[in-house]
């Protein structure tokens, strides 16, 4: 204690030792309302409620420093308040330029005190477009926890956003909610998500590559006469989780990939894989988007990387031989959580939510089918070539495993492997 002065101790106790401070009010909020003018399509009428305590902190409204803000003081600062606030708000969209002009000043009471009400008009050089961007920078330099609660009313549509120093811009859609349109836009999102999500893509590809091949035992005296897959399913199923040991225990047995004879069995396999994947990822996608389950993204992303490794490794050392769709089904749960990251934070009314979730799922589906349609015929035609068996199936899987291992390390340990991202963006 000798080493510390009392003032320092008092400050330390105040800053560090009070575990759960009891706050008297919520943090700083301002309420911004914009209303499309029915008579003039170039005009938005605005109302901006800003707490007097915040304005006092920024501009010093309490001129006589008596700890009381009077209406006279607020009125005297009207111009200062208006130019301060309106300079920190912009309305943009489609090359739109708008100028803000103050129209009036009032006072309103909110739950945590008195607010100055700035009435203003935003006059734009064109018709107000259906998509508006609001750029909100009030108190960005004074309080990182300030929030601007923005509401826009236009032609029977009400939309809004909560903005602040960390998220200063929102693009708001003023069109009437068009569910079909909403659905379609999410279909596109879903499509893109699977096409640009290289990890989802590689997972499906790894499972598809072997659909045109079957595993056959080569050291069997009867050669190809015994298609062991017929009974193998039972053996693998019997061995359960120790399938790997089962394979290792019969090291002398040798297998090789041989092309399927006809299109249909391969096609049925693919249908099973895709359906299994769809079934499980739809479940977790829905649960995660509705906020019912919430796993750390690091865990999910690492899980996805593991799924790619498992799927590709199974092409080199097949453990699951017949029921490939089981892999797709099991890991689909993890991929669904990954898809949900694209919809994360989407707070929509139930109907919009159904439309967007459904649309996104359909998009993901269409994306998958497109991949299947692109790969399967080529794979089927090439299945008898050495190029396919060694070059595509074996070395392709090796490359996929290497990539996915890289992702796994990066995601699980949160490190960057130098140069790795240059090969493929994650």
């Amino acid at each position: 204690m000798k080493s510390l002065r009392w003032r320092r101790i008092a400050l330390l106790v105040g800053l560090a030792l009070t575990s759960l401070p009891a706050f008297a009010h919520k943090e700083s909020d301002a309420y911004l309302t914009l209303r499309a003018d029915a008579a003039d399509s170039h005009v938005l009428e605005g109302q901006w409620d800003i707490a007097l305590r915040d304005l006092d902190f920024a501009l010093g409204i309490d001129s006589n420093h008596d700890g009381q803000i009077t209406w006279g003081e607020v009125r005297a600062h009207r111009t200062a308040i208006e130019s301060y606030a309106l300079a920190r708000l912009a309305i943009k969209g489609d090359g739109l330029t708008c100028t803000m002009s103050p129209m009036g000043q009032q006072i309103d009471e909110h739950t945590d005190g008195a607010y100055d009400v700035i009435e203003f008009r935003s006059t734009c050089d064109k018709d107000i477009p259906a998509k508006l961007a609001v750029v909100y920078q009030l108190f960005a330099d004074l309080d990182p926890y300030h929030r601007g609660i923005v509401t826009i009313h236009a032609d029977g549509v009400t939309t809004g956003a909560v903005l602040g120093p960390e998220v200063p811009v929102a693009t708001l859609d003023l069109r009437r909610p068009d569910r079909w349109q909403e659905f379609r836009s999410f279909v596109t999102d879903g499509l893109w998500h699977i096409w640009t999500g290289i990890d989802h893509l590689l997972f499906i590809m790894s499972l598809l590559l072997q659909a045109v091949m079957v595993r056959r035992r080569t050291d069997d005296p009867d050669g190809g006469a015994v298609d062991w897959i017929g009974g193998g399913g039972a053996l693998v199923a019997g061995a359960g989780g120790t399938g790997g040991t089962w394979v290792a225990a019969r090291t002398r047995a040798r297998y090789e990939w041989v092309p399927v004879r006809s299109w249909w069995p391969a096609f049925i396999d693919v249908i099973k894989v895709i359906s299994g994947f769809t079934l499980s990822h739809s479940v977790t996608l829905t649960l995660a988007t509705l906020g019912i389950i919430d796993l750390p993204s690091r865990l999910v992303e690492s899980g996805i990387a593991i799924s790619v490794i498992v799927a590709a490794a199974n092409n080199l050392y097949p453990i699951v031989r017949q029921r490939i769709w089981l892999i797709a089904f099991a890991f689909g749960f993890v991929h669904g959580l990954g898809f949900a990251s694209a919809l994360y934070g989407l707070q929509l009314p139930p109907l919009s939510m159904a439309a967007s979730l459904g649309g996104f799922n359909v998009g993901v589906e269409l994306g998958q089918e497109a991949i299947v349609l692109a790969i399967m015929p080529v794979a089927f035609l090439l299945r008898r070539t050495r190029f396919y068996r060694d070059g595509v199936l074996r070395w392709g899987s090796v490359i996929i495993i290497a990539l996915a291992t890289g992702w796994l390390i990066q995601r699980a340990f949160d490190v960057l492997i130098p140069g790795f991202s240059a090969i493929l963006p994650t």
């Binding site: 080493s3 101790i9 400050l11 105040g14 560090a16 706050f23 919520k26 943090e27």
Partner: protein
């Protein structure tokens, strides 16, 4: 000068008709699910913008220059404006803001403190003092996970940082990681000396079943001499009150609370703590007197409503509606500073055990102080889901916390778990 105009947000026509069961708010002791008042104030009419009639009308009270703390940070702010690159000055100002925000309960000042050091937080590596401010702000805003991460990084670079160890001890205590808190307290004692070490360890002992030791230790430093600032003396008396309360020495606890309030009158945290104690002691009238005129503070106002309920005060319905609007305003901004208080409000005033339990569980993921244990136990009991309080029982089994109120709730939960839910529900409803 006209008096402060405080228009009521809601119509006063909402009558508070007490439920036949009465205002059964047995303090916050048990999960009281009898109705506090029949019809909740439903006629919520929002106040509309207006132009005041007189220029002298007082619209808002703000920190006054007569307050030395305000003069101090005003002069710091002026100096910083003159030399915006002086980090030491910025950190001093940030600390002054945060300390002011904590003692007055004005959460805005915590964010303002953060803003002051923002330019240095963007530097790599972040200077230690600025990092410490951000850890303090995160801790104050109940973002304990981020605060701990920042402190861990900071202490790796500066292992003898007293304030960082103290904050770490606090974070670990709130999150009920008592071995880690103890390790931090040991560092505090080594770096900061006996006085700081005693403060730290006494708090920890009070939480871990050794309230007797805590009380004895605090009595040793109770009178730190004339040179000690009132804030320290008030703080010590507050800790003594808590320890006495844990020991069941209610008369002593009351004495310490009143002594604390003499040193730091109007301290928002202390008022809330004392009001909770009085509610536990079935002294709602004393709560109304204590918090009279402090209605602009949410935490005080909430306790006033609890007291009004217990007293069948006709103001309860309208005040509850006002409080509901305040919680709704917090929901709109999307962040809550007092999740526990919200759960308490929903359980004891709204009588919605299911939602209270949901809120109490969400609260428990962030903070695990004795009050957080209580609300989760009480909500689980009221919602007839005793299993939901399992996490609390697990912490209690490790910490051996002494606390008469928590002991009663725990016993009720255990009875309920043994398969007698009706018993639990009954003991929960009877005040």
């Amino acid at each position: 000068m006209q008096p402060l105009r405080r228009p009521r947000l809601f119509g006063s026509q909402c009558s508070a008709s007490p439920h036949p069961l009465g205002c059964g708010l047995a303090g916050l002791l048990l999960a009281v699910i009898s109705l506090c008042f029949g019809d909740a104030a439903s006629a919520a009419t929002h106040f509309h913008p207006y132009v005041p009639d007189s220029p002298d009308l007082v619209l808002q009270r703000v920190p006054s220059m007569t307050d030395p703390r305000v003069r101090a940070f005003d002069s710091l702010r002026n100096r910083l404006d003159g030399d915006p690159h002086d980090m030491d000055l910025a950190v001093q100002l940030a600390d002054a803001y945060i300390d002011y925000g904590r003692s007055t309960g004005d959460a805005r000042y915590v964010g303002r403190g953060m803003a002051v050091v923002q330019p240095w937080l963007r530097q790599v590596p972040t200077p230690i003092p600025a990092l410490l401010v951000s850890a303090t702000v995160l801790q104050n805003r109940h973002d304990f996970t981020q605060s701990r991460a920042t402190l861990t990084a900071l202490l790796a670079r500066d292992p003898r940082n007293l304030q960082a160890w103290l904050t770490m001890a606090t974070v670990e205590m709130v999150q009920a990681d008592y071995p880690a808190a103890n390790a931090a307290c040991v560092q505090v004692a080594q770096i900061g000396g006996d006085f700081m070490g005693t403060l730290c360890t006494a708090q920890l002992r009070s939480l871990t079943g050794r309230a007797q030791q805590a009380y004895a230790l605090l009595r040793l430093i109770e009178h730190p001499g004339a040179a000690a600032p009132p804030a320290i003396k008030g703080y010590l008396e507050g800790l003594l009150a808590d320890a006495a309360m844990r020991l069941g020495k209610t008369a002593a606890a009351d004495r310490h609370f009143r002594a604390a309030l003499q040193w730091t009158p109007g301290d928002n945290f202390l008022l809330a703590d004392y009001a909770d104690f009085l509610l536990d002691q079935h002294r709602p009238a004393a709560v109304e007197t204590l918090l009279e005129g402090d209605g602009s503070s949410d935490t005080s106002f909430l306790r006033t409503i609890f007291a009004e309920c217990a007293l069948h005060d006709p103001r309860a319905a309208a005040d509850a509606a006002t409080m509901r609007a305040r919680f709704a305003a917090m929901d709109r901004r999307g962040s809550r500073l007092y999740p526990r208080e919200h759960a308490e409000f929903v359980l004891y005033v709204e009588h919605d055990p299911g939602r209270a339990l949901m809120l109490a569980r969400a609260n428990w993921t962030g903070q695990r102080s004795p009050q957080d244990m209580r609300i989760l136990l009480a909500a689980a009991l009221a919602a007839r889901e005793p299993q939901a309080a399992q996490a609390v029982l697990a912490v209690l089994a490790r910490s051996h916390l002494q606390d008469p109120a928590i002991a009663r709730l725990t016993a009720a939960i255990q009875t309920a778990m043994r398969g007698a839910p009706e018993v639990a529900a009954r003991s929960g409803t009877s005040p």
